[in-house]
Symmetry: C2
Subunit: 172 residues, 2 copies
């Protein structure tokens, strides 16, 4: 239903009806629509919204870029890189999945990032996404050397300042 009707169009109520269960049960077991999408369509091993809330909530604003990179790599390193490849493959193969992904990111990721941005929150959050998605492709899918094998802190030091500037620095 997410891929047929988009992330915004698919309601938990309609999904539950199709599954023959109560909407409250879907919310209870999956923890709401965004968690259901992340688990069922993207097959993510974590909830991006919750992880981002934690990262944004704790620590020095000046190290936010580094903390985003560290959290991203720590989570994905602990799971099969194949999940990241499957997500990328799915988005690149089906326009409907790409559309649902756009809505999901808009609702659950970009809004939070834009909230800490200096200004131009939308383009800043897109820029953050571009660097993190590319880092994921290079480390887990294409597996370029030496990024694929670098320890987390080396990458954190290299890429953290990029995100820091994308969120709070000058863009022109």
């Amino acid at each position: 239903m997410f891929t047929e009707q988009g992330y915004d169009g698919a309601t938990v109520r309609a999904i539950a009806r199709k599954a023959g269960v109560d909407a409250a049960m879907v919310n209870h077991w999956f923890g709401g629509k965004e968690a259901l999408f992340a688990e069922a369509v993207l097959q993510l091993p974590f909830n991006p919204r919750e992880q981002l809330t934690q990262v944004l909530g704790g620590g020095d604003p000046a190290t936010l870029g580094e903390r985003i990179v560290r959290t991203f790599l720590t989570i994905w390193d602990a799971h099969d890189g194949g999940i990241f490849a499957a997500m990328i493959r799915s988005v690149a193969s089906h326009e409907k999945v790409a559309k649902a992904l756009r809505e999901f990111f808009h609702n659950n990721v970009f809004g939070q990032l834009a909230g800490v941005a200096a200004d131009h929150g939308e383009i800043r959050s897109n820029l953050v996404a571009s660097q993190m998605i590319g880092l994921g492709v290079v480390r887990y899918v294409a597996r370029f050397d030496p990024i694929a094998a670098s320890d987390v802190e080396t990458v954190v030091k290299a890429v953290g300042p990029t995100l820091q500037r994308y969120l709070t620095g000058p863009l022109d």
Copy 2:
């Protein structure tokens, strides 16, 4: 043969033999192995090695990051974003394609980038690749707003300094 034997393993001579033609003819029509791979496997509408040579060769070293972003976007904007999606899909679907891509980038892209890097050429060229691949995914595959619709110079100003630092700035 590229996906069966890898980029390094597949020789123009062997490819020509399998096609029942002379190796000189393959070189004449495709312009060598890297052009053949870029055209036949990646289905790129341009030769990455040649484009990179042009970008690296002309202009102020201090604007190299901006020129790489401008060239990348100008070329891809002029072609169907579907080609970028197909390339990403192929790399994410077949480990053998990913391996051939690694060898292709190692031989034809990373070496040139490393040549202009301040030091640590390999990780610097990987970092450049991570930002450019991610930018391509966001603009042409996932099509996040507003990056998908931003004019080239807006993105050049935002992302250029990232590449400049990756190539010549401090990484830790």
